[in-house]
């Protein structure tokens, strides 16, 4: 069980996981961008984008994404998404009150319509994607490093949370 977590699954699964995770990521972006025309929206699209990275980690072992991202990247992405959403809210003050929809409305079934609703969808999707990926890595891929100090064991996280 332990070696299988670290080495991953067989060769066929590894190859297929690289193709399908790319397709899942693009599908997640589609669900977010068309969230004001068809059912979907920011929440479902963000979770789909996070699932595309789960597939890579599960099929290729725990250390596959260890050196790829910088330390603390997903924390910063999460905070960026949340502050973008609050920033859009304060931008409504230019029109007169909090959260007012000030961009032009456009024609009903276009992509660039409905004012600020697509921008809000995108910032929420980014936030949920970063949060869920950080939570998943903390629960399942943390490594215990035993150090011979007098205090006992030192735990350290292997990924960039």
């Amino acid at each position: 069980m332990n070696t299988r977590d670290e080495k991953g699954m067989t060769e066929i699964v590894k190859k297929i996981s690289k193709i399908s995770s790319l397709l899942m990521f693009i599908f997640g972006i589609y669900v977010i961008v068309y969230g004001h025309i068809t059912p979907g929206g920011g929440f479902a699209g963000g979770v789909i984008m996070a699932c595309s990275l789960f597939v890579l980690v599960i099929a290729n072992g725990k250390g596959y994404l260890a050196g790829v991202f910088k330390k603390g990247l997903f924390s910063k992405l999460d905070a960026l998404g949340a502050s973008l959403f609050a920033g859009i809210a304060f931008l409504g003050f230019l029109g007169g009150s909090f959260f007012l929809n000030i961009l032009p409305k456009g024609k009903p079934w276009d992509v660039f319509s409905a004012g600020m609703i697509p921008l809000c969808n995108m910032s929420i999707g980014l936030k949920i994607f970063a949060s869920l990926f950080a939570g998943f890595i903390a629960i399942t891929a943390a490594k215990i490093v035993k150090n011979e100090k007098k205090d006992g064991m030192i735990y350290s996280n292997e990924e960039s949370c």
């Binding site: 004001h36 789960f54 409905a114 609703i117 949920i128 949060s131 399942t140 064991m153 030192i154």
Partner: protein
């Protein structure tokens, strides 16, 4: 008619999930209950909710399986002693009596009152320009609730990450 069959199978599935002694079987039964809930949402006319429930159910299954299967668990499934179970059943029966008086005040199943949504449905498309009325409600008419919900998710995930990253003596 199909809705009642789905509800009855969900109740049987949840009873199996809490009674069985094997951890793998109980997690798979919860997966069954979640997927049947997604089908029930489609019957009730809510496609937005069905998409979200499906992907969230898959993430919950992945996380629970990864967190519990590798550990060496000895399956001893103890419950409370018999007088305590009898008292719990009595309390549940008591709650059911009050529930019967409460739901006789609700409108009949299938004819909602809709005190607020009549306005949103009639003027949603021309006031906001979005064709999806649910998206225009959560991001334009009622955007404060979405702001509060983003805060709750942020705090919960931050707590989970901080709990699992402790240096020093345990």
């Amino acid at each position: 008619m199909e809705l009642y069959i789905i509800l009855i199978i969900m109740i049987i599935g949840s009873l199996v999930a809490i009674k069985t002694r094997n951890i793998l079987s109980s997690i798979l039964s919860i997966g069954l209950v979640g997927l049947l809930l997604c089908v029930a949402f489609l019957y009730l006319g809510a496609p937005d909710i069905a998409i979200t429930q499906l992907v969230v159910e898959v993430v919950v299954l992945i996380v629970m399986l990864r967190a519990t299967i590798n550990k060496n668990i000895i399956i001893i499934d103890k419950t409370l002693c018999f007088p305590a179970i009898a008292m719990v059943v009595f309390i549940i029966g008591f709650i059911l009596i009050f529930f019967h008086r409460a739901i006789s005040d609700l409108p009949e199943f299938g004819r909602p009152l809709m005190p607020v949504s009549g306005e949103y449905l009639l003027s949603g498309l021309e006031k906001t320009g979005a064709a999806n009325i649910v998206a225009s409600i959560i991001l334009d008419f009622r955007a404060y609730d979405t702001l509060g919900e983003a805060t709750v998710i942020f705090v919960a995930i931050a707590g989970a990450v901080v709990l699992l990253r402790k240096k020093g003596k345990i």
